[in-house]
Symmetry: C2
Subunit: 225 residues, 2 copies
């Protein structure tokens, strides 16, 4: 029974601490160089290079050469999704450490989940959008006609989003909160718009920091009413 079930090979790849560090570092959807990933994983360049070769061979990552750098990114949103699911499971089963450092608090407050907003802010945004009748559904989300007008007004080109293969609305289970936040093409577009208008800033890693105007704008746009 050496052939084992298909899941073992993939899971084993995710099971090494260094590789897991690399993958979580990539969960914000950006592409990083080998050196950056080595730093993030806490190993030397050679070691990281070996790990990356394996992850690439398994098609979990895609590589892109640019000058003398090689950039790696997750090969798709599904990889990020599996990682978040594993985090949820790890938390539920109590494997989580108590470490409640300041970085941890920041992560819980607002962070990037592949390419959209997650954490308390992300959960709040979806909840309020639902209460305002912009989005309907629970597990399966859909834009209402009112929501279409709202987000078009917010500066998002919905017809373009709907042309793509990617689902517009996608409910993504939040790792720290136990509720859902908004992913999909729309989730990505909203975050990108928020960054454009300087509501939010990318810090190191996956942490997102809201500016003063950002908080104000957020509260005004996604009001509780």
């Amino acid at each position: 029974m050496k052939e084992g079930p298909v899941i073992a090979s993939v899971a084993a790849l995710l099971g090494d601490p260094a590789r897991a560090n690399i993958l979580t570092a990539l969960m914000d959807g950006r592409a990083l160089t080998v050196s950056e990933l080595a730093e993030a994983a806490g190993v030397t360049l050679q070691t990281a290079s070996g790990h990356l070769a394996k992850l690439d061979a398994a098609n979990l990552l895609t590589a892109e050469k640019q000058g003398r750098h090689r950039y790696f990114r997750l090969s798709g949103p599904d990889v990020a999704q599996v990682l978040e699911a594993l985090m949820g499971l790890a938390q539920r089963t109590g494997a989580t450490r108590v470490r409640t450092g300041p970085k941890d608090a920041a992560l819980r407050s607002a962070r990037i989940c592949y390419d959209h907003l997650a954490g308390e802010r992300g959960v709040a945004m979806l909840k309020r959008a639902q209460r305002q009748g912009l989005i309907e559904g629970e597990q399966d989300l859909a834009l209402t006609t009112r929501g279409r007008a709202f987000f078009a007004d917010f500066g998002i080109d919905l017809t373009r989003l709907e042309k793509g293969r990617r689902p517009v609305c996608r409910a993504c289970l939040d790792w720290s909160e136990r509720h859902r936040h908004l992913g999909g093409a729309l989730g990505a577009a909203i975050l990108s718009a928020m960054i454009d208008r300087k509501w939010v800033r990318r810090d190191s890693g996956r942490v997102l920091t809201f500016t003063c105007e950002g908080v104000e704008g957020f509260e005004a746009t996604f009001s509780l009413a």
Copy 2:
């Protein structure tokens, strides 16, 4: 960076072939003894016992003592869900072997996913139920009033299901097909009803075999119209 991200410890548990075999053997939701699991994993009793202790310590499994047997089962549907997600990822990234034995074909046709119907039949059932207006939604499923009457007529006690904590309808991404099938409390109840009226028989492992009357009943109940 030895502490590593939380996912590594869990993923490492799933990454061993023997343990992965054990977990997939439990994916049909039943509880199995140590010997049975050792057999399924292709290792000796002692080795299996060690693996089970680890999986139990990580709360992925729950143990239950009965006489001189110890029964293990998955600690919840979320574990099965993560396993299915990993299978999907393994398939997408091409880690899957070509092995297309007869057992594989049977698995694709109809199988148990934790406690509900999956495979071609499972996907077909949901699709037809949606077309008939019994269930609505795509990612997030909900019973229509027509659906309530229909399933009550089918012999399912919906008020009882709705009392439980478990969601009644749950869209579960199918591993072999690339579509959704119906999970949740309702999905479990339907499968159990089908077994009661001998539409379907549990074979070894996760394979489900439809009887002649089963196919007939299935087609009559979930018609294409």
